[in-house]
Symmetry: C2
Subunit: 447 residues, 2 copies
């Protein structure tokens, strides 16, 4: 038996598929071959004397969080595009800066993003970016789990489309199964219908999904209706994207007529909600989470890229989902603590088609375990650890992180990333990346 | 010269009264007698060889944050009232629990709150609660700065009113000037006009302000208009509260007709905005911050009590002010990074009438200095430290805290609080405080 690991004496957050989360007091989590074998009251004999032991006493084990939509290498542009309109953000800041990126930049950015996510207890992320090979390398190296969608614009041409398909064919299921691939048409307003149909066909052929921005805000939906008489979601329907299975980023512009279309493919359709960027970009309304859940569509929590969100902190994101969704439907009793925790774990797992592998600390699941320390004064008295996770805890309360049975951070020390060297490497690349004097862009934003 | 202190080699956040914040690189902050003497480029001789030296290299000094509205002892009920309506929160959970509180409970709660605030870089707070003597003791002991308003309901009778006035007469200006007092009528819907007039008179006589909940949400304003033909703000005007000077908590229900009334007393009127609790209680609209600032009224940032806000973290609160205010007025270019930082520092100082003492790191100001460490992966690359403070940093990035020239936390270690003993003491009181089987309440909520 390889990869043996036992976390002893921790409390365990149990997140059922429905209903209230529960805290199992003083349990052991027994891991073998990267998989959870048993979650049981502490004190029994360990199944394997040679197993690595983590003393979990005083800590709460939670399933690794899933960041269901991000552009991880954009950490390189964190804080470099503030207080601007959405149009200014794309056309004046981000798309010009992105035209500077080299494959090495992207690998450095992805590694830095992985370090930040490990530190904050994110064990799986759905990425959408250029130079996906370099992201896959960073994921393989750091030990995280990721679904990687290579970003595709129709303006980049057929060779680029074929390259994304080759990436999917060669990389899906690598890194011991930790790397999966989705196809990544950017959005219905940057990818034409023919390309969407072609990519949907490849996705069906390969048994993969598509990860795509759509109906990002209501103006996009209105613009799509005006230009072509169909909502962005209907375009996804007509081009086979929904049929293949889609992880839809944002969806703030999903309207009533879209719901039956999404419901038809609910088992393979998900929407990732990233509220911090919606607020920051002054968007209203937000993702219609209640309507989506009522329609049976999976909802998950994401951070988007750090050029807009400024962190890859899913604790921050899930708290904002709870807060903004309560306000959005004017119901303080809705989007409960338990439901919020479920979105960021089981919801994220479903959104990536990984619900049989991750999203809960249960026998048979891959061992993606985050040990949190809720003993700080900002969480005390600790009346309800579940409420503390949603409303009081910080990413810095994460102590130890295990992915696929491997310890990636132990008591605050990263084991798979040379963080000082990485930060210095990132700093050395910054001036060139921020220089937009050349006037190039990766794309023009005009949805 | 006593209290000599030099912070050497730090970067300093300069927050002007208007315009962009700036970062002064590699400066020394020279402190004498609890006051900032000089902020100057590092490298000069220290004025006093005996002074305490803090090596600030690699850290960013920011003015201590001001929590402009809280009920500090409510940390004892953190996480004990989740996913309930506003009415349920007051009538089923919080006001029954508060009827259990003893003076010793309140002192324990206030000490725990002080520990949390020191850890997160809050150096001044505006408190509003019962048993104010015990809060003043906690503030004196821990070294923080606070303006304390003793909560008063008319239902508690004239003896209670007189006790709040005696507290003001005896405690204002104590603890070396760190404790100031405001009078604390709870709200226009729980304090009658006669009591409001009496308290306004005492405030004018004593040269103090009033700290009061008013127009907490739009339904309260509508209810006040229906019941008595006047908005809550007009009631404050008619009862002399605005004339005496008022720190108004929340003000989400401030309407257009209120703005001229507030503008008339703008120099001594402020509104504390605590957006996390508005979202959590599913309220809309939020504090009309743009209208208030346009009318010349001071706006500050608060956390409210931790029974609703779950933390006393002003970083979290100021970030939510920026995010929610951008969305509220549908303008992503508004509530900029610089303006947000100003609200939480200079704005808070003005809100408490302390603008000549605190709110900026400038010669002549009291030495309330917070050293933050923005070197963590979640803030890197550090393109713009100002943006990092608003959108990336966490309370846990605070390393060292100085109030009135005294070091209260050094490199993460609290120097004025025995935190383990305090946490154990708080835990020992919890079961009794949460027991609401007796059916008592401090007040009934029906605004």
């Amino acid at each position: 038996m390889s990869g043996g690991l036992v976390v002893t004496g921790c409390d365990v957050l149990s997140i059922p598929a429905e209903g209230e989360c529960e805290i199992l007091r003083a349990h052991d989590i027994v891991v073998a071959d990267g998989r959870i074998q048993e979650v049981r009251p502490t004190g029994g004999a360990h199944p394997n004397d040679a197993a690595e032991v983590i003393d979990g006493r005083g800590l709460l084990a939670v399933p690794g969080l899933v960041n269901a939509h991000t552009h991880s290498p954009m950490v390189l542009m964190r804080g470099a595009a503030e207080d601007v309109t959405v149009e200014g953000w794309f056309n004046e800041r981000v798309w010009p800066m992105e035209s500077n990126l080299t494959p090495d930049d992207v690998q450095t950015g992805a590694l830095l993003a992985c370090a930040e996510m490990i530190r904050s207890g994110v064990t799986t992320f759905a990425d959408h970016y250029f130079f996906p090979e370099q992201i896959a390398e960073a994921v393989a190296e750091t030990g995280l789990r990721a679904d990687i969608a290579p970003t595709y614009f129709s303006s980049h041409g057929q060779e680029a489309l074929e390259a994304t398909v080759r990436f999917a064919e060669t990389r899906h299921g690598t890194a011991g199964g930790r790397v999966t691939v989705s196809l990544g048409p950017h959005a219905p307003y940057t990818v034409d219908d023919e390309d969407l149909r072609t990519l949907s066909g490849h996705a069906r052929r390969l048994g993969l999904r598509l990860h795509i921005h759509a109906a990002e805000h209501l103006e996009q939906t209105e613009s799509s209706l005006a230009r072509r008489g169909a909502t962005p979601i209907r375009v996804l329907h007509e081009t086979g994207v929904l049929e293949a299975g889609a992880l839809i980023a944002h969806g703030c512009g999903i309207v009533e007529q879209d719901l039956p279309l999404l419901a038809e493919y609910a088992s393979t359709t998900a929407v990732a909600c990233c509220p911090k960027v919606y607020l920051k970009h002054a968007l209203s309304p937000l993702t219609p989470v209640r309507d989506l859940l009522d329609a049976g569509v999976t909802v998950a929590v994401g951070t988007d890229g750090a050029a807009g969100h400024n962190t890859l902190d899913v604790w921050e994101a899930l708290r904002l989902v709870a807060l903004t969704q309560k306000q959005a439907v004017r119901d303080a009793t809705w989007m409960t603590v338990s439901d919020t925790l479920r979105l960021a774990t089981r919801g994220g797992a479903r959104a990536l088609g990984l619900q049989d592998r991750i999203g809960a600390l249960e026998p048979g699941m891959r061992a993606d375990i985050v040990l949190t320390d809720l003993s700080g004064s900002h969480c005390r008295p600790l009346h309800d650890p579940r409420a503390a996770l949603v409303y009081s805890a910080r990413a810095s309360d994460v102590r130890t992180v295990v992915v696929d049975g491997r310890v990636l951070m132990r008591d605050g020390r990263l084991l798979t990333v040379d963080e000082p060297a990485l930060l210095a490497e990132a700093d050395s690349r910054v001036a060139r990346i921020l220089d937009t004097s050349h006037g190039r862009v990766v794309q023009h934003y005009d949805p």
